[in-house]
Amino acid sequence: MFLLEQVVNGLVLGGYYLLIALGLSLIFSVGGIVNLAHGAFYALGAYASVEITKYLGFGPAVVLSPVAVGMLGIVFERFILRRFYTADPILSLLVTFGLAMVTEQLIRIAWGAAPLSASMPPSLKGAIFVGDFLFSRYRLMLLAVVAVVLLGVWLLLHKTSFGRVVRAGIQRPDMVAALGIRLQPYMTAVVVLGVGMAAMGGAFFAPITIVHPAMGAEIITVAFVVVVIGGLGSFWGVVLAALLVGVVRGITIHFAPAAGEASIYVLMFLVLLLRPRGLLGERIEKFE
C-alpha cells in the first residue's frame, strides 16, 4: 500500500520531468542538435515567472513566462542553432553548453546568487486525500496541466499538416525538401515549442523548489536521462520514460533512500545495455 503511494507519486513527478524532456527530444529529433542550453530556458522561465508574479499574480505568470521565453527561442534558433544543423555535432554541443554557462552567469549577475523566494497561491497549498492516498493539491494541478500540454502537442504533431511536415522532416528531410517544403520555419516553431515547455516547467516548479542560478544545470541531466531511456524521436517513448524515471526514483527512495538519485542512472544504464535505441526509439536514417 505504501509502495503504491510511492508509485503514484512517482508518476506525478514523472509528469514534471516530461515537460522538460519532451522539448529536448523534439529539438533533437528535428534538428539533430543536443540542446545543452535547454536547462537555461527552464531557469529563465522560473525567473521570469517570479518577476511576473510580483505584478500580475501567479496565473498570468505561468502563461506569460513560457511565451516570453518562447520568443527568446526564436532568436536562439534563428541566430545560433540554425548554423549548426549540418555541422559536426561537437560544435552544436559546444555552443549550447557555452550558452548554458553564459545564461547561468547572466542570471547570477542580474538576480544574484541567493535564491529567490516564490510562493504558490494559498488556494493551492496543502494536500488532499483520495482514498488513502495523499496528494499535494499543487502537484495534482500540475499533473492536469501536463496532461493538457501533452495532449496538445500530440494533436499538433499527429493531427495537423504542421505535424505531418515535422514528422516527415524527422525521418526524411531530403524528401521534404524535394517536395518543395522549407523546413526552416517548422524548425523555428519546434524550438519555440520546446523551450516554451521548458520555461513552463520552470514557472510551475518555482513555488515548490528554489529559484537559483544553477537550477538549469540541475534539471538538464535528468531530462537527458529521460530522453535517452525513452528513445529518440519517439513521443510516447519520452512519456513512458519520464513516468518510469519518476516511479523508479520513488521506489528506490522507499527502500534505500541514499540511492535515490543514483537509481535513475542505473536505469538508464540497464536500458542502454538491453535496448541501445531506447525503449521506443525509432530508426532514424540520418542518425544511423
Partner: protein, 411 residues
C-alpha cells in the same frame, strides 16, 4: 646557428625581464599582507558563499581605510572552492605560489577538512570560518586551524534546549532527514546524543543525497511513520526545498531543524517556514555594535547581512587584531595569541574566545522561531530571534562538547 642565436637572445631577454620584474614583485609582497580566502560560490552552498565574500570584503575595506595592519594594507584573494579536491589544490597554490600569509574561509565541511590537511602539511595558519561539522574540531582537529562558526553539537544543543523548554522532547518520537555527507552525518550523531540524554526517541532517519531537489518520496515516508516531530539535518538550499515542499504537502507534524542559514530561510519565504531552528547570529540582534554593522552593510549592499556575512566580517577583524597585537604574520606567534584565549568583540552580547585545546570560538548561539503572520517589517524580518544560549548566568562553554566528549588531540 642563427636560430640558436636567436633563442639565446630570447632566453637572455626573458631572464632580464624576470630579473627586472622580480624586485617589483618582492616589493609588492612586502607592502601588502595577502590573505587567501576560499568559499563555495557555486552549488548548494553558493548563495551563502556570496554573503561570505561581501562580509570579508567589507572588513577588508574598513581595515584598510583605517590604515591597514601594521601600516600595511590587507589584500584578500578570494576564490570559489568548488569541491573538496579543488579546495585543497587552491589552498596549496595560494600558500606556495600566491604568497598568502594565512588562509581563511569555507562553508562546506568536507572542503574545510581538505584545506586543514593542506595547512597542517605546510605548517601555516587557517581560520576556518563557516563549516560546522563537529569532526573538524574533534577527531580531525589540528593546531594550525581555528574554527569560528558554531559546531553541530552547539546547534543541536541550542535548539534542543528550546524544545525541552517547550515540552517537545521527552517521550516524543522524532523522524530525521539527514544530508548524506560529513556535516549531515555529524549533525545526526549530535542529535542522537541529545535525544538519548533528554528522553527523545528517534523512530526513523533518511539519508538524503546533496543533489536531491524533490522531497515528495521522503514526505510520503514521513507521513507513513507518523512521528511527533520532524527534524531536518540538511544543509544549504536543501533546507529551503524541504521547507517549501513540507508546506506544499501540508503534513500535520511540527518540523524543527538543527541547521538553517538565514539566506535559506529567507528563500523559503514567509508562510512556508515554521518551527524552531538554530542560528549563530541574526541581523535583528539587539547589540549596538551589531546594529551599526547591519546599518553599514545595508547602506552598501541594499539588503541586510546574512549570518555568513557577519561571521566573515568578524573573522577578518579578529585576524587583523591578532596581527596588529603580535606585530607579526608569523604562524607560531598568531597561534600563541589565539591560544591564550584572547577575548574578541564579535558584535554579540558577550565576547568570544578560542578555546585553547580544540581551537573552537566559544560564543553565544540563538534559537529562532517564525513571527506570527503580518508581524514582519520586511521580507527579511519574519524570523524571531530567541534569547541567547547559554543564559547570562552560565559560562559560555556549557553548550560546547566538554573534553571527555571531544576526541580532539593536537599532534
Amino acid at each position: 646557428m642563427l636560430i640558436q642565436n636567436r633563442r639565446t637572445v630570447l632566453k637572455a631577454g626573458a631572464a632580464m625581464a624576470v630579473a627586472l620584474g622580480c624586485p617589483a614583485i618582492v616589493r609588492a609582497q612586502a607592502d601588502k599582507i595577502k590573505i587567501g580566502h576560499l568559499t563555495p560560490l557555486t552549488g548548494f552552498l553558493g548563495a551563502l558563499g556570496e554573503y561570505a565574500q561581501l562580509g570579508i570584503r567589507m572588513a577588508e575595506a574598513e581595515i584598510n581605510a583605517a590604515g591597514g595592519v601594521m601600516g600595511r594594507p590587507l589584500e584578500i584573494a578570494s576564490e570559489d572552492s568548488v569541491n573538496p579536491a579543488t579546495a585543497a589544490t587552491k589552498a596549496q597554490r595560494m600558500l606556495e605560489q600566491d604568497g598568502a600569509t594565512v588562509l581563511m574561509g569555507e562553508i562546506n565541511s568536507a572542503s574545510a577538512l581538505t584545506i586543514m590537511q593542506v595547512v597542517a602539511r605546510n605548517k601555516r595558519l587557517y581560520m576556518q570560518i563557516g563549516a560546522r561539522s563537529d569532526a573538524l574540531r574533534g577527531k580531525n582537529c589540528n593546531r594550525y586551524t581555528f574554527h569560528v562558526d558554531i559546531p553541530s553539537t552547539v546547534m543541536v544543543n541550542s535548539v534542543g534546549k528550546a524544545l525541552v523548554r517547550d515540552n517537545m522532547m521527552k517521550d516524543k518520537r522524532f523522524f530525521t532527514l539527514t544530508a548524506d555527507y560529513l556535516f549531515g552525518q555529524d549533525l545526526l550523531r549530535a542529535a542522537k546524543a541529545f535525544f538519548d540524554a533528554n528522553g527523545g526517541k528517534l523512530i526513523g532517519d533518511e539519508l538524503v543525497g546533496t543533489d536531491v531537489t524533490d522531497f515528495s518520496p521522503y514526505l510520503l515516508k514521513i507521513r507513513q511513520a507518523k512521528p511527533d516531530i520532524v527534524c531536518s539535518n540538511l544543509a544549504g538550499n536543501q533546507v529551503t526545498n524541504l521547507i517549501k515542499q513540507y508546506a506544499e504537502f501540508g503534513l500535520p507534524f511540527p518540523i524543527v531543524g538543527f541547521n538553517l542559514n538565514t539566506a535559506d530561510a529567507w528563500a523559503a519565504g514567509e508562510g512556508n517556514l515554521s518551527g524552531t531552528w538554530p542560528t549563530v547570529w541574526y541581523h535583528t540582534l539587539e547589540v549596538p555594535a551589531s546594529q551599526a554593522f547591519v546599518a553599514a552593510f545595508i547602506k552598501k549592499h541594499g539588503k541586510p547581512p546574512e549570518n555568513h556575512a557577519w561571521i566573515e566580517y568578524v573573522s577578518l577583524k579578529m585576524m587583523a587584531q591578532a596581527m596588529n597585537e603580535t606585530k607579526s604574520t608569523d604562524t607560531e606567534k598568531l597561534i600563541a595569541y589565539f591560544e591564550k584565549e584572547t577575548q574578541f568583540d564579535i558584535l554579540k552580547g558577550r565576547k568570544g574566545y578560542f578555546r585553547s585545546w580544540d581551537h573552537q570560538l566559544i560564543q553565544e548561539a540563538y534559537p529562532f522561531t517564525v513571527r506570527e503572520k503580518g508581524k514582519a517589517k520586511d521580507k527579511w524580518d519574519f524570523l524571531a530571534l530567541g534569547a541567547a544560549v547559554p543564559g547570562a548566568n552560565e559560562p559560555l562553554e556549557v553548550i560546547n562538547p566538554p573534553k571527555d566528549q571531544n576526541a580532539c588531540t593536537m599532534a
